[in-house]
Amino acid sequence: MSIDATDRQIIAATQAGLPLVPQPYAAVAQELGLGESELCDRLRAMQKSGVIRRIAVAPNHYALGMLANGMSVWDIEDERIADLGPQVGALEFVSHSYERPRALPDWPYNLFAMVHGSDRDEVEAKRQEVATLLGAACRGSDILYSTRILKKTGLRLRSKEG
């Protein structure tokens, strides 16, 4: 998969979002001096290759009253994670869910899932729901709450052409 300079221009022009107008792709295309159909073809190609995960809305958890979140972590039997991981990822209160390697002996957990709730108690209750879903395939779990943001920088798009 490779993207060219025009794709990078498209990424730069849409990183902040699509305009809320009836023909958003035509508006972006005009801004870049491209045809609308070329822009759409390139967006489709990037979506197909995985450069674009999806075109969608990202709601603000805090504004929706989901004020608490915890990074729940689970030790799942290796042969069950392909089946159980997507079930955890599909839960309505889970926003991100990944399989990651264990770091034994310090860290036995291989499934990470961000759990959201209106407060800490709700997050704990939802953590129990995940535990119930995982059942005997889960050998242990923990939840980590963030106590301080130490650094937060956006991921910068490299300007070099790739």
């Binding site: 999806r54 075109i55 809305v57 603000n60 926003s95 991100h96 937060k152």
Partner: protein, 149 residues
């Protein structure tokens, strides 16, 4: 602001995806049984009120080239600020959170190549005298977030 049932319907629907077609809002409005102008007005309002953080393409930084790795360290309380200064000084450190755990510092390294992830992690270990545990993403399960309808 408060969200009504239609706002919630829109949020849930548009988290799943948005079509690449000349009149995408018209298509979505039809799917939801809404008027296109009403859909656009509601999106505009939710964006202004910061209910919507972003609306548009979500790019996979790894697919664009680049490497990312979640890392964690168990930093003794008395060394925390000194280690933090060293870790945060690296431009490769994108996010860093203190968390309630023995592993109390969690950050993301973002570099151009996998080799650089290793190099930065090892260099941080030398510099701080602490292990940097690496938790690269092996698999991602479907990411979304639904609003209670």
């Amino acid at each position: 602001m408060t969200l009504d049932a239609t706002d919630r319907l829109i949020l849930n629907h548009l988290q799943e995806g948005f079509p690449i077609t000349p009149d995408p809002f018209h298509v979505v409005a039809q799917e939801l049984g809404l008027d296109e102008a009403d859909l656009l007005a509601r999106l505009e309002r939710m964006k202004t009120d910061r209910i919507i953080t972003r609306f548009g393409p979500f790019f996979d930084a790894e697919a664009m080239g680049g490497a990312f790795c979640l890392c964690a360290m168990a930093v003794p309380e008395e060394d925390f600020e000194a280690v933090l200064t060293k870790v945060n000084a690296r431009p490769e450190v994108a996010h860093n959170y203190e968390r309630s755990h023995h592993l109390n510092m969690w950050f993301v390294l973002a570099t151009e190549t996998e080799e650089e992830i290793e190099a930065v992690a090892k260099s941080l270990e030398r510099e701080t005298g602490q292990r940097v545990l690496r938790f690269p993403k092996l698999r991602e399960f479907f990411i979304r977030f639904r609003v209670a309808a």
